[in-house]
Symmetry: C2
Subunit: 243 residues, 2 copies
DNA sequence: CCAAAAGTGTTCGCTATACACCCATGA
DNA sequence: TCATGGGTGTATAGCGAACACTTTTGG
C-alpha cells in the first residue's frame, strides 16, 4: 500500500457547514485512480471536522448552483490534487435513502485516471490529510464510499478494455511491458507478452519515440507514446478498441 | 412511427407545483424503449399543465425524500405504463446549469426495455397524453430530453451487444428471425442469417419451447425462450455475452 | 407450382493462443 | 556468464464472413 502523504483543501460534504450557493441534497464524489509500482491506487482524504472527522473518504464536495456537474468534479479534483485537464467521466449516481446520516444526500460520482507523472504532484497543496491507497487494501470509509469504489473498479475494468484510457495512468513515454503490466494489474490477469505486443502494435495507436529506456540492468526497451491523432483518425473510420 | 395513444398519470417535474415531500432540484426521467414491427420506439408523454403544457417529454418526476432513486424510477414507470418488474437501469445524470428554465434541476435518467407483450398494456391508465414514437422520428421535446434520448440510444446500442437484455423487447416466445431483426434494428446493420443462428445457438442461452409458429405463409419456425437459469450458470463460470 | 422464410453445409482467411526461441545489457 | 527483460517466429485451433444449398409450408 502506498501512502504518499498529501495535503489538500477538502471541501467534502458536511451538512452542518453547507454554504448557501450550493445545491442541497446533491454532492460530487471523485474516484481518482493512479498507478504505483504496477498497483492500482485510489486517492482518499481524511476529514478534519464535522461528523466524519478523522475518517477516510472520497474527495468530493458540493455542487454550486451556477456550475455544471463535470465542472464541479473538475474543481474539486483541482483543489485536491493540483491536476487539471484529465480524463474525467461520470460514473454513477448513488442515492440510497440511508446512505448519508440525518439528511438525504444524493451523490454524483466521477472518476479520473492520474498519470504516473502527476502522481507526486498531488502532494502539493495544503489542508486535510490525503493519501493514495492500494485498492486492495482500503481503510474503513464513510457512508457508502466503499460501495462506490467497488463499483468504480468494476467499471474501470470494463472501460479500460474498450477504450484507450489506460494510457492516462502511464507517463507520456512508456514501454510495452509497462503497458502490459498496467492491464494485468487492473484486470487481475496474466497476459502473454508476444501476443500482447502484436495486438497493441497492430492497432497502430502507438508512436515510437525513437528513444530507449536508460538505467536498466537489461536490454533497454523502446519507448512509445499514445498517438491521439492516429486514434481519432481510426475512430472516424469506425475502429473499435478491444483488449 | 407508431402512436398507440396511451393515457396515464403524469407526475412530471413542474417546479410551480412541486410538493413538499420531494427533493428539490433533483428529478427522474425514464427512457422506456419498446419494439414495434421491428422498429425501436420510445414512450413520451405530453404535459397538460405548467410551463411545458402541450409539449412532449420523457416520463419522469420528482424523487421523494424516503425513496431510493431506482424506486422512484419504478414508481413513475408503473404510474405511466402499468408495467412493473422490468429491467431498469440507471443511464446517466444530466445537470447542465441551463437545462431547466428558471431553476436548477439535475435529473437522473433510467432506462427500461418493455417487451412486445406489455406494449399494449401501457394504454391502460388515465391522465395525460402519451404515445410511442419511433426513435428516428421524434417530436420536439422539452429541456434537454432530446439529448438524453440520443445518449440513451447510444448506450442501448452498446449494452445490447454485451448483455442479453434485448430479449426484454421480445415476447416470451420468439423465433430466431425476430431476435435477429431486433439486433438489426437497434444496431442499424444487416446480419447474416446462418451465422447469426449459429452464434446465438452456440451460446446455449436459448431453450426450445417445442412449439412452432402458427398462421404464417411459409415454413413455421421453432419458438425459443431466453433461458435465464442457463445464463446465470454460465455467468458464474465467467461467460461473456457478445454479439 | 411459386414465394418466403426455415434451416444446414462448406470454404476461406484471419486471429487468438501457446510456447519455443534468440538478442542485448548491466552486474 | 548469468539473470533479466526485449523482442521474434511459428504451429494450431477456432471463429467469423460469405454464400450456396436444401426443406417446409401456405396460397
Amino acid at each position: 500500500m502506498s501512502e504518499n502523504s498529501l495535503s489538500s483543501f477538502s471541501s467534502h460534504v458536511d451538512p452542518a457547514t453547507t454554504p448557501d450557493n450550493v445545491i442541497k441534497a446533491l454532492s460530487i464524489d471523485n474516484l481518482i485512480f493512479g498507478l504505483d509500482h504496477g498497483q492500482l491506487d485510489i486517492l482518499l482524504i481524511k476529514h478534519r471536522e464535522g461528523i466524519s472527522a478523522g475518517r477516510w473518504a472520497l474527495p468530493g464536495g458540493w455542487i454550486r448552483y451556477d456550475e455544471n456537474l463535470r465542472d464541479a468534479a473538475s474543481r474539486h479534483l483541482l483543489e485536491l490534487t493540483g491536476v487539471s485537464d484529465l480524463y474525467l467521466e461520470q460514473l454513477k449516481t448513488f442515492g440510497r435513502v440511508d446512505r448519508f446520516p440525518n439528511e438525504r444526500v444524493v451523490t454524483v460520482s466521477y472518476y479520473a485516471l492520474v498519470s504516473a507523472e502527476d502522481y507526486d504532484l498531488a502532494a502539493g497543496h495544503n489542508a486535510a490529510d490525503a493519501c493514495w491507497f492500494n485498492v486492495r487494501a482500503l481503510p474503513e470509509l464513510i457512508y457508502d464510499h466503499a460501495e462506490i469504489i467497488q463499483y468504480g473498479i468494476e467499471q474501470l475494468q470494463q472501460n479500460v478494455r474498450r477504450r484507450p484510457i489506460g494510457f492516462n495512468l502511464l507517463p507520456e513515454k512508456f514501454t510495452l511491458l509497462q503497458l502490459q503490466e498496467l492491464y494485468e494489474s487492473i484486470l487481475g490477469t496474466k497476459l502473454d507478452k508476444p501476443n500482447f505486443r502484436r495486438k497493441i502494435m497492430k492497432m497502430g495507436l502507438l508512436a515510437s519515440c525513437d528513444e530507449k529506456q536508460t538505467g536498466v540492468a537489461h536490454r533497454a526497451a523502446k519507448l512509445y507514446r499514445f498517438d491521439e491523432q492516429a486514434y481519432n483518425t481510426l475512430m472516424e473510420k469506425g475502429f473499435s478498441f478491444e483488449i
